[in-house]
Amino acid sequence: MKGIGEGKKGRQILLLIVLGVVLIGSCTKTNEFTIGKDFMAPETRLEVVDTFRVDISTILVDSIITSSKKIAYVGNYEDTIFGLISSRSFFDLDYELFGEIEEKAVYDSAAFILNYTSKNFGDTLYPMSVSVHRMTELIVPVNKTALFNTSSFDYEPEPLSTVVFLPEPNGQDTSVNIAVNAFGEELFNMIRSKDEKVSSEELFRDYIKGFVLTSGSVVNHAILGFNANPERLVLKLFYHVNREEPEEKEITVKMGDAGRQFNKIDFDLSRTPLAGIRENKNEVPATLTGNKAFMQGMTGLYVKCSFPTVQNLMAGERWKILKAELIVEPEKYSYEKFELPDSLYLYAGDKRNNMSTLRDGKGLQLRALFEFDDYLHENNRYTFDITDFMLNELADSYFNPDQSLILGLAMTEQGGRFERLIVEGRRPPVRLKLYYLSY
C-alpha cells in the first residue's frame, strides 16, 4: 500500500489539502464577521435613563462618634458655607507604677508634647493659640463604649498653660510643646514622695482626671490635628541629678486609653445656608440652599438623595437592570481650598434617616473614587455602582420612595475627619443613571 503523497492519486489529494490550508489563512475572523447583520431582528433594547428625579438634601446627624480616632483636633475655623467650627480635644493620662526618684534629683520643667499630623483644616499660615485645661470630672464613655462630637465634661476655665506658635505641620519641627511647669512640679514631688495619689490607678485618675486642648477664647484660622496615639501624645517631666556631671532625666506619662480621647465639635450654622437645619428636623432640602447640598465629616453633615420617580419605571414589565450608577458632582472649584475626599461612601437611609452601610460584592462599604477632570472641570465626579442596591430594592417590583441613599465618609472616618463636599453641578447635581434591557 502506498503512503500519502506517493503516486498520481496521492499527489492530487495532497494538492487539495494544501489548497485547504491556504484557504484557512484567508478567512475573516469570526469576531469580525458582519455580513447578515441587516437581517437580524433585535429582540433586546438597551436603554440608558438618567432623567430620574433625584431630590437631594443636607441632613445633620447629631452624634458622631469621635473617640478612639487617635487624633486630637484643636482650633477653630470659620467660613460662610459651613459657619464657625471649633474643636476641643479631651484625653486623660495613663497610670503606671512610677519608679524611685533619687534624693538628689532636681525638677526642671514639664510639657505636653503634641505631634503634628497631615490632617489639618483651614489656614495654617496664621499663628495658632492652643491652651491646655485641667478637667474637673472624669471622662466616662457613654454606655462604656464611645464618646461623641457632642460629648462634654467639665474643666477648669483657666488654662494651665497657653502656647502661641506658627504651625508647621510639614516643617522640621514635628511637635508643639505646651509647658505645664507648675503642674509638673506638683506631680514630680508626689512621685518622689510616693504620695498616695500616685500609688494606684484609681487614685491617680481621680487626682489627674484629664485634660482638654482648646483654642481658649482666641479666634484661630485652622483646626490642627495632632497625633493621639497613647505613645505619641505624652506629658514629659524633666529633671536632673546633680553629680560631678549633671545627669538629665525625664519621666514620660502617656496618654490614657484611646477610647477616652475624643473631640468635641461646636459649630454654628446660623450664618450659613443651613441656618435652620436644627429647627427643621435636621434636614434642609437643596432647593432651599441654592440647589446645593453639604457634607462634612465631624460636624455630622451628610447628603441625602431620594428617588421619587423610580417607581414609574415599573410600568413596563419585561426589563432587567444591567447597571445602575449614582453620579455625584462636586461644586465647581469648591475644592480649591479644601481638598475633596478621595473617596465617598454610601449608606442606605430609611424614612427617619437611620443609616445602614451598603456593601459591594466584596463585602466592602460601597464607595466611589473621585475622578478629576483637570482640563475643564466639567466631569469631576464620584460614580457609585449601585446596581446591587437597585436590584434589591426592585426585587419586589416596588421602590420605596422613603428609601434614600446617603453620601458620607467611611463609617470609621466620619468622626475623624473634617473633609467636606459641596454637591452641585449641571442640574441635577446628583444623577441616577440606569442601564436597562427591555426584551
Partner: protein, 407 residues
C-alpha cells in the same frame, strides 16, 4: 477473521460515537438565521459530484439514501459502510464588502447490505439542516448616541437517523421507504459582551417522517434505463422552546414561545442511463415550502425547485473493472430555494466534479468532490455567497456474508 473485525468494529464505533459527539453545526452562513437553517440536501459526497443527482440511480457500489428504492441495487455479497466529511470555503459578498469563512464538518454516515434476495436495507445518520452563524453587529444605547457591539450567534440544526428498506417482487421494479427520526435543536443568541447580557432562544425539534421511493429499470441491449420517483409527506415538527434572559446579576427563563417548524411535502423524479461503468442522470425535485411559514420579518417561503444533471465515466486505457480504475464525475445543479428574503428569491447554482479512487486496504474507495457554486444575490442589500466545497467520502466494503459462510 481479523480483517473482518477491523473495518466493522471501526464502522460501528463511528456510528455510535459520531452522532453523540457531533453538535451538528455544519453551516457557517448568515443564511442559516432563517427557518430550519441551511438544508443539507439528500445526497452523499459522491452524488454531489454529479450535481446531487441521485433519484434514478441504484445503490450499487455506494449507498444512495436519496431514494430508498435504490437499496435494491446493493450487491448481495457486499456490505458497505460510508462516511463523508466536507470542508467549505465561502466568500460572502455585498455591494461594498467581502468576508469569508471556512468550516469543515461531517456530512453523513451510512451502512447498507442485502438481507434477502428481495430485501435490502440501509441505515445511517445525516444532518437534515444546520444553523451556524456568528454575526457582529452594533446597536444604539438608547437615550445616548453611543453604539455598542452586539453579537448574534446561531447554532444547532436538525439531524436525521434513518432506517430504510427496499423490496423487489417484480423484476426491475423496486420500492423503498426510509423511516427517519428528525431531532435536534436550534439556538439563536443575541448578546453583548460589554453589557453582559444575552437572550438565548433554544428550540428542540423532533418527529418521525417517511420518504418513499420507486425505481424501475428498462434494459435495452447493454443499456440500462432507470426511472425513479421519490415522495415524502409534509410534517409538522414537535417543538419545545426555552428562552432565557441572562444578565450579570440575573437569569430568568421566560415563557416558552410558540414556534412552528415544518418540513414540506416533496416529490421528485429522475432518469438515468447506464452501461458498464458509464452512467448519467437528471433529477427534478419540488418541495411545497409555500405551506411552511417561519414567521420571520425578512423571510418568506416559496415552493422550491431543484434540477440537476450528472455523469460518471471511468478512466480510459485501463481494463474496465480493474482495481486501478478511476471514476470521473461531473455535474451541475440549479435550485430555486425556498427562501425569499426581502422579496428577493435566493437561488443556488453549482458545478461539481469528482474522482472515485480505488484503494487497497480497509478503505476501498475514496470519493473526492469539488463543488463551485453561488448562492443568493447582491440585489437590495443582500449578499451573495461564492463557495468551494471539498467533500471526501470513504467507503468501506467487505464481503461480509461470504466470509461468514467460510467460518
Amino acid at each position: 477473521m481479523r480483517r473482518l473485525v477491523t473495518p466493522y468494529a471501526l464502522a460501528f464505533f463511528l456510528m455510535i460515537l459520531v452522532p453523540v459527539t457531533l453538535t451538528s453545526q455544519i453551516t457557517t452562513s448568515p443564511y442559516s438565521i432563517f427557518g430550519l437553517g441551511i438544508l443539507e440536501g439528500n445526497s452523499s459526497g459522491l452524488s454531489r459530484a454529479m450535481g446531487g443527482t441521485n433519484i434514478a440511480f441504484l445503490s450499487e457500489n455506494a449507498i444512495n439514501y436519496g431514494n430508498p428504492a435504490s437499496y435494491d441495487g446493493l450487491d448481495s455479497l457486499l456490505t458497505i459502510f460510508e462516511i463523508g466529511v466536507f470542508s467549505k470555503y465561502s466568500m460572502f459578498q455585498t455591494s461594498h464588502n467581502n468576508q469569508s469563512l471556512l468550516n469543515a464538518n461531517f456530512r453523513y454516515m451510512s451502512m447498507g447490505f442485502r438481507i434477502a434476495p428481495w430485501l435490502s436495507t440501509s441505515f445511517g445518520f445525516t444532518p437534515y439542516s444546520s444553523v451556524g452563524y456568528r454575526i457582529n453587529s452594533t446597536a444604539f444605547l438608547e437615550g445616548t448616541s453611543i453604539e455598542y457591539p452586539k453579537t448574534y450567534i446561531g447554532n444547532g440544526g436538525v439531524n436525521r437517523v434513518y432506517l430504510g428498506g427496499a423490496v423487489s417482487f417484480i423484476k426491475n421494479l423496486s420500492l423503498g421507504v426510509n423511516a427517519s427520526y428528525l431531532f435536534g435543536d436550534i439556538t439563536h443568541i443575541e448578546a453583548s459582551e460589554i453589557y453582559e447580557f444575552s437572550l438565548e432562544d433554544i428550540t428542540y425539534l423532533s418527529n418521525f417522517t417517511f420518504n418513499y421511493g420507486l425505481n424501475y429499470q428498462v434494459d435495452v441491449n447493454d443499456w440500462k434505463y432507470n426511472v425513479g420517483f421519490i415522495y415524502s409527506d409534509g410534517k409538522k415538527l414537535n417543538t419545545r422552546n426555552t428562552t432565557t434572559i441572562e444578565t450579570k446579576y440575573e437569569k430568568e427563563v421566560l415563557k416558552s414561545r410558540k414556534y412552528r417548524y415544518s418540513i414540506p411535502r416533496t416529490v421528485g423524479a429522475g432518469l438515468s442511463v447506464r452501461k458498464d461503468f458509464f452512467k448519467a442522470g437528471v433529477d427534478y425535485e419540488w418541495s411545497n415550502w409555500e405551506e411552511v411559514d417561519f414567521s420571520s420579518t425578512y423571510l418568506h417561503t416559496r415552493n422550491s425547485n431543484r434540477i440537476s444533471a450528472g455523469v460518471e465515466f471511468p478512466s480510459q486505457g485501463l481494463r474496465k473493472g480493474s482495481s486501478r480504475m478511476i471514476l470521473f464525475r461531473f455535474g451541475g445543479e440549479f435550485r430555486e430555494s425556498y427562501m425569499v428574503i426581502k422579496g428577493v428569491p435566493i437561488d443556488y447554482r453549482a458545478v461539481s466534479m469528482g474522482l472515485g479512487l480505488p484503494l487497497k486496504g480497509v478503505v476501498s474507495v475514496v470519493n473526492a468532490t469539488l463543488e463551485f457554486g453561488q448562492n443568493g444575490t447582491m440585489k437590495r442589500d443582500l449578499f451573495r455567497e461564492n463557495f468551494v466545497t471539498l467533500s471526501l467520502d470513504l467507503s468501506l466494503r467487505d464481503l461480509w456474508f461470504r466470509k461468514r459462510q467460510y467460518n
